[in-house]
Symmetry: C2
Subunit: 206 residues, 2 copies
DNA sequence: GCGAATTTTTACCATTTGGTAAATCTACGA
DNA sequence: TCGTAGATTTACCAAATGGTAAAAATTCGC
């Protein structure tokens, strides 16, 4: 472990690590950290448990690896918020991107939600180093837009919270949403329309 | 279990069941269902593990009891949505009540969120019998308001989702919120202001 | 094809955890 | 105060679970 340059991974290592992480994402997001077992992950991956421990140092290593890899994808929509674009359209496009992610990557959303829900015991450092600076930067950008008068007065921090909350809700609370919505309706289309109206109303009020 | 009328619980039973449930709420909300152990709950409650199993049939029994008791409290703010009140003020008051609950009962919020996040394996029946009818009823009420022209066109289902999502976010994602917000600021006051503006904008747009 | 390195399996193990049986202690009404 | 129903503790247990050692199998550069 105190070795210098890590050997570049073989094709087998690349493939198996990917297979294991995909299985682990499925299992962790469905059962939570403690509810997930190495046996479940092993079965899901089609790889024996000791073999999984050949590729990862342990259960926690798999979990942390997943969360770290996820973080980049997760923050990407916010990174793309363009200082040079039209403020209202930029923010609405951000809402749409976040909603698309909730639709396309619900397991990732639930994995992240589960970690935060339990106090972010394994990802707090990353939140400080990755999320916090980006959050501050984009809050400053939105504040600038407000000060320039191109946006009405609003709280950038809580605006972003509202966007996160409303979009991720469809992935994180999917079980509830499915019970409450008519099964044939396309929840995401309706949600997209609703959220566009909701946030546009706030961003364009006179 | 096939007995007829259950004996009325003694004072000791009342007290100990309350103590156990309170400890279990703390432990379940912090660690999730699988992460919570009877030993943790026992320590937190100051009651030995076998003694806990004298009052409850098992771990799942405690969890289900907690969720069932919580459901009533949880739905209460929505029950109070008054068909005879002013639509905009009624909905904004509902938002405030939900936000107050997230502030005052964060453990309950996280317990519920954890259950839904994992597919509501132990509370799905209650969601159908308790939540669904109330949800449908209040959606119909809001639809009526829209049809009467006292509210602008909007999707009642997704409006309620947005209210749930934005308010519960402050309890469920508390760990993240604490990392991102300046520690001295009063998050709930700012959130209340923000959410009032957000939803009022949508409800009063011309 | 061959030897070394990598990968996989087999056979385990210690700990944790939900739960139980039975003995013991305590409260409480007669 | 005494007997009994109710409450609590002690001493367990079986299954699940994260993890390991070492043998066996496979892959790969030459």
């Amino acid at each position: 472990m105190t070795e210098g340059p890590t050997k570049k991974p073989s094709r087998i290592q690349m493939r198996n690590r990917r297979v294991i992480l995909d299985a682990a994402l499925e299992v962790f997001s469905r059962h939570g950290y403690r509810g997930a077992t190495l046996d479940l992950i092993a079965t899901e991956a089609g790889i024996s448990k000791p073999n999984i421990l050949y590729y990862f140092d342990g259960k926690e290593d798999i979990h942390v690896t997943l969360l770290s890899q996820l973080m980049e994808t997760w923050l990407d929509p916010l990174v793309e918020l363009d200082p040079n674009g039209d403020p209202v359209e930029e923010i609405l496009a951000y809402v749409q991107r976040k909603l698309d992610m909730a639709r396309d990557l619900p397991r990732e959303s639930r994995l992240f939600a589960g970690e935060i829900l339990q106090g972010a015991p394994r990802i707090t450092p990353e939140l400080h180093t990755s999320l916090r600076p980006l959050f501050d930067e984009k809050c400053a950008l939105i504040s600038r837009w407000v000060n320039e008068g191109v946006l009405p007065p609003l709280d950038p921090q809580h605006l972003i919270f509202s966007i996160w909350a409303t979009t991720q809700h469809y992935a994180d609370f999917q079980a509830q949403v499915h019970i409450l919505l008519a099964p044939n309706s396309d929840a995401y289309d309706a949600a997209a329309n609703h959220l566009r109206v909701l946030f546009r109303s706030m961003l364009t009020r006179s």
